[in-house]
Symmetry: C2
Subunit: 419 residues, 2 copies
């Protein structure tokens, strides 16, 4: 639903660059701390962070909620639990407070320069699911490992295939990742070897954050699924392809994935994304009724992956889009709960690698280098099939319709040598 908080004629009294991800129409939530102040809820505006604890203490949310403690927590979970009606009212209030000509908080000490704060993992994640919902990605991987004729497995177009990942190792942007060690089975070897992964990869994904809990045995209908989704974030699912390949049959990926996943510090709400709704790709065959989704339940979000080698410059190695996903977030959540599996506020469901139709839109090095056969070339001439130590990866995401840009910031991480 488009409302006055989407009016792109309104500017903020905070200076916001035209290319900023964070105009007054975005207002994404995160958790930050400063040199002198502990973790609290913040909202991004331009290159500033608005301190919601401070705004609450000034009384500006008093007509919406009595208890300000949700803004003084080290995660967003309690704030998210308040529900969409409260979120919407808080959004309108912040929108008004930040609108040009509104003097109410302009003289107050409620803004911090982004470069001076520390951002933290915004949510306490109970359970994390990783879906596999990009047809292009699943097809690419299938072609590489099973050939063109058997690329997509029989269940893939019938359900959003997914698996449980590791919550403990999900970290916020800026956290370094150590190259994992483990078992690998070299080609033509008879016994596995132990060592550091030599096929380190990334996966360009987005995740949605669960905004409403259910009880065990309860299902979320596909048409009601958005009521249970708070917002979206960027998600880099670091992967060790050699470890993954040797371990994953028959129970799925485990140590090839669970050494680290990187998320953006900001969660962009569905309300902020409303102007960028689009329909998902047409689904053939038609899925079972519990998965049938009509209307615009996905978003036109431009995505890009940057790779910066040690002492080098960034090369954009992929440009993709969230809208390419075959299964949308509502279908993912309906599937996750069809068996009565309970969900909790703060759970994350990631999309799976988001690859587009062209080679430069593939969301992993595995696909970009076609399993190492065609290494990509960086701007300085270096080649990459997989990651080298000290390579930094930066995911970015933003919506842009020419007059409004709503972005996600970045999800960054550097690959360090094995510990």
């Amino acid at each position: 639903m488009i409302n006055r908080t989407h009016n792109n004629q309104i500017k903020s009294w905070v200076e916001v660059d035209k290319k900023s991800d964070f105009p007054i129409q975005n207002l994404p939530y995160g958790i930050f701390s400063t040199a002198t102040q502990s973790k609290r809820v913040g909202v991004a505006i331009g290159d500033q962070v608005l301190d919601l604890e401070a705004v609450a203490k000034l009384g500006h949310f008093d007509s919406i909620i009595n208890d300000h403690s949700v803004f003084s927590q080290d995660t967003l979970n309690n704030f998210i639990t308040l529900g969409k009606q409260i979120h919407s009212a808080i959004r309108e209030c912040i929108f008004d407070l930040l609108s040009e000509n509104n003097p109410l908080i302009q003289a107050e000490n409620v803004l911090f320069d982004y470069s001076t704060v520390t951002m933290h993992l915004p949510i306490k994640i109970g359970d994390y699911t990783d879906f596999y919902s990009s047809e292009e990605h699943a097809t690419n991987v299938g072609v590489m490992f099973r050939g063109k004729d058997n690329a997509l497995l029989p269940n893939w177009k019938q359900m959003p295939v997914g698996y449980h990942g590791r919550s403990s190792s999900i970290v916020v942007s800026g956290t370094d990742i150590y190259r994992p060690k483990g078992q690998k089975m070299p080609p033509d070897a008879e016994t596995p070897i132990y060592g550091a992964s030599s096929r380190m990869d990334i996966e360009l994904e987005m995740g949605f954050v669960v905004g409403k809990s259910t009880a065990l045995g309860e299902t979320v209908k596909v048409d009601a699924a958005e009521d249970y989704i708070f917002g979206l974030l960027l998600f880099n699912d670091w992967s060790a392809r050699d470890i993954q390949k040797w371990e994953y049959v028959p129970l799925g990926p485990f140590l090839g994935k669970n050494f680290g996943s990187t998320v953006s510090p900001w969660i962009v709400t569905l309300e902020a994304l409303a102007p960028f709704r689009v329909e998902s790709p047409v689904q053939k065959p038609t899925p079972l009724p519990y998965l049938q989704s009509t209307g615009k339940h996905t978003f036109d979000i431009n995505l890009e992956v940057g790779l910066t080698p040690k002492d080098g410059n960034k090369t954009i190695i992929s440009r993709s889009n969230y809208k390419y996903l075959y299964w949308n977030m509502c279908q993912q959540l309906a599937h996750q709960t069809v068996n009565g599996c309970n969900i909790n506020v703060g759970d994350v469901c990631a999309s799976g690698t988001i690859s587009g139709p062209t080679k430069n839109s593939f969301g992993s090095l595995l696909e970009l280098s076609w399993n190492g056969k065609t290494p990509i070339v960086l701007e300085d001439g270096q080649e990459r099939s997989f990651l080298e130590d000290y390579d930094s990866i930066s995911l970015k995401g933003y919506c842009d319709n020419g007059s409004l840009r709503i972005g996600f910031g970045e999800a960054n991480g550097m690959l360090l040598p094995s510990k």
Copy 2:
């Protein structure tokens, strides 16, 4: 290490039946509440629960810890975080307080009849891993689905294969489980159907509870793994075989498992289990060095599965033993962390179905009925290939060397019709 708390000559002033799982040498931890008192830490003794909050308030732990609040929590996590040295001292203190002839707390109001209290999930579980560590189980499943010659997959004897499960749906004994709905692909059908699972199964497992956290990038060596393990509990991994079969390739089990898992309310510490240490089966081929485990790192724990149909009597359908596991808990934890995956206090690593060498020791109906080909017969003559609505399942586990019995109580649950 055997110490005075294992002396089976010592009796408690609390009456303890000879066949009780909970003599003074056990002292397992759980979380209970009463009609008038909120959740707190308790210890089982005979058919009574010792209220540790109350004992702490009387000052009996004052020489060990200053802060009593760990006993007034709704999970054991903070208590577990205190570490093994404290746990050992608390155990000795409780052992002394409950020893016959010790009058200190006999007149105090610190005991509750087990039948009058409510037991709760004892821990907040961050991440849950399910291993697949019984050779007999993996072989049985392999023979059924791939034939004798390819029963064990190539990686199985090289590593403790495992996958991430769902934490949110782990429930305490006594919680009913709803028969899940979902997608199934009937034999010879061309498209999947939606409906309730008709192949409902259980899995006889045990889980260990992580007792010490690690940082991302850190590994736990196999020889040090026990320092990171607080204790063990019973674990029933309810499974919907038809849903699982259709979904699990290539990313592993998901909705076929995540609708519910049942644990016992009591966690038995490694210290209590010390008299029952045994060596694991000989491993051929020898695993990689990071998985090589010497000494007695598993336990002789008798396990049984009881099935009680609606309005009927219980039939013991399986008798197995924890010691059958090919991969022990130390190897599981070393593998879980070999890539730097971080673990947190309260995480659970389940063993996978524990099947023994004979048919009556198989740990799932899938194996007991050999995929439905040879239904088991209950005491009243009813047959079962898979579970019927209102069937109740009871897992039990106990060590018994003739002079000492250390048990786990039960992990019970009834299967209700689909919601």
